[in-house]
């Protein structure tokens, strides 16, 4: 369960210039649900994602995940929370292009210092699930956009997080690949993962799998 209570978030842009990215936001997201954050650029979607993933802290209010106030965590505990609970798919994938698919997908496991056999089996499971096992040893820069996105999803999934966050996941994909991504979301939902997607792609706006649409404008929910 993810809860936003009276969240305000503002950014300082210079000495006397403060921008309110989120204004008095209250949200409840149930475990295992798929939530789509709609809205134009600058509406506050990404700010919500960064608060859920404890990348940033609110200016005021509380972000509670599974009864734990994650907005109050220190950097060290926020990293730990992120490592164990959050998988992130970035708009531009944020992959390390010069290394292999396997090496990219392994990255979130490094801090856990797991046994190499266990790592190997986790990598195989994740790559298999997203249909890219045959690219295991390929260098990321040689893959297409859709394939790179699957690598990014596999990397987000490998720690088996409860919450998967995707920021504009289809911004760089054509319609067919975007539909493939929606199929992946369905699979994740079946596994009871909470998926939060920030997008302004109309493909997401009438989907059966989506439990909740949150439309945002100028930092407020409309």
């Amino acid at each position: 369960m993810i809860e936003f209570k009276n969240i305000n978030k503002s950014y300082k842009l210079g000495k006397n210039n403060t921008v309110a990215a989120l204004k008095d936001i209250n949200i409840n997201i149930k475990e295992g649900s798929v939530v789509v954050l709609k809205g134009s650029s600058g509406s506050g979607k990404s700010s919500i994602l960064s608060l859920v993933s404890a990348i940033s802290k609110p200016t005021s209010g509380e972000v509670i995940v599974d009864n734990k106030q994650i907005s109050k965590l220190s950097d060290r505990f926020a990293s730990e929370y992120r490592l164990n609970n959050i998988g992130i798919v970035f708009q531009k994938y944020n992959l390390v292009e010069d290394i292999s698919v396997e090496q990219n997908v392994i990255l979130p496991l490094i801090p856990k210092n797991l046994d190499s056999d266990l790592v190997e089996s986790k990598v195989d499971t994740a790559l298999d699930m997203f249909g890219i096992k045959h690219y295991k040893n390929s260098t990321v820069k040689n893959l297409s956009g859709g394939e790179q996105q699957r690598v990014a999803i596999a990397r987000a999934y490998i720690n088996e997080p409860k919450i998967i966050i995707a920021d504009e996941p289809t911004a760089n994909l054509d319609e067919k690949l975007s539909l493939d991504f929606i199929e992946i979301i369905k699979d994740l939902k079946k596994q009871n993962k909470t998926v939060i997607i920030a997008t302004h792609d109309p493909l997401f706006f009438n989907l059966d799998i989506v439990d909740k649409y949150i439309e945002m404008k100028n930092g407020s929910i409309i």
Partner: protein
């Protein structure tokens, strides 16, 4: 007044410490007065962010302060070449009224800074940061001591007079001296060495039997016992001279700077022992 490059370096660093320390002090006071872990108000989030800044400043002051203390000792030794009558740092410290107080304050401040560091490490290990108010309250006290140290140090350096004759360590550390130090010469060496080893045995005993308080207190006691034993007994073997009792001369090149190693081990070891009071996982 002497303005050697070493003294100038210390002045500049002290000024920087003062400026950054003042920023940390301002934040520490705010955190101490207004920090409320349960609050979700903007002020609380601001204080949480500022606590990282204050902690970083204090950590870096400490990191520079430790080598600066060694540099201070080195400076005292170097100044002994300039002051008439001084043979080592002991004579230089005796040249003004506050020399002994200065070095005592410097050692105390290093211990307190290190204590702050231990508190900070323990604090950030826990999700609810149980020591956050204590550590910033400690820094407020520490800053007052730190400021006193800077002022006394500046006073000491300012009042050095090249043409004034000062005492050498042979005079200062002798039974005929009229200082407090002369009192230790009344102790019999056999008794002193027995106390030294008994204290060491007590530390070992406390460690083996995991007695936290005994371990900390015996380590605290060991600082005094060790320094007196060094002056009265062990030092004479380093000098190969039974009548020489200076605690500074073995910091010089003639004795291969062995004093730095002895003092560093003594201070680090005893500090670690005293910190048993604040750590859960020492044993």
């Amino acid at each position: 007044m002497i303005l050697s490059p070493e003294i100038l370096t210390i002045y500049i660093l002290n000024f920087l410490f003062f400026v950054f320390g003042l920023i940390a002090l301002n934040l520490s006071v705010k955190i101490y007065l207004k920090y409320d872990k349960n609050s979700s108000e903007p002020i609380q989030y601001t204080l949480e962010r500022q606590s990282y800044l204050a902690s970083t400043i204090i950590k870096y002051i400490f990191i520079v302060k430790v080598p600066l203390f060694l540099f201070f000792i080195f400076t005292l030794d170097k100044l002994s070449n300039v002051l008439s009558g001084a043979m080592c740092g002991a004579g230089v410290l005796d040249a003004t009224d506050y020399g002994t107080m200065l070095i005592t304050l410097k050692v105390l401040n290093i211990y307190l800074f290190a204590l702050w560091l231990v508190l900070n490490t323990e604090d950030v290990k826990h999700e609810n940061q149980p020591y956050i108010k204590i550590k910033f309250a400690l820094f407020i006290v520490l800053f007052a001591l730190f400021l006193s140290e800077i002022l006394i140090e500046s006073y000491t350096f300012y009042n050095f007079e090249i043409d004034k004759l000062v005492s050498c360590c042979g005079t200062l550390y002798s039974s005929t001296s009229d200082s407090i130090v002369s009192n230790i010469f009344a102790i019999d060496n056999k008794i002193l060495v027995s106390i030294f080893y008994a204290n060491f045995a007590l530390i070992t005993f406390a460690y083996v039997f995991k007695s936290k308080y005994m371990y900390a207190i015996s380590n605290l006691l060991f600082i005094v016992v060790s320094i007196v034993s060094l002056i009265m007994f062990f030092g004479t073997y380093i000098y190969e001279l039974p009548s020489h009792h200076c605690p500074f001369c073995y910091l010089q090149s003639d004795y291969y700077y062995i004093g730095y190693l002895l003092y560093a081990l003594l201070f680090m070891g005893t500090f670690n022992g005293i910190m048993a009071l604040f750590k859960d996982d020492l044993f």
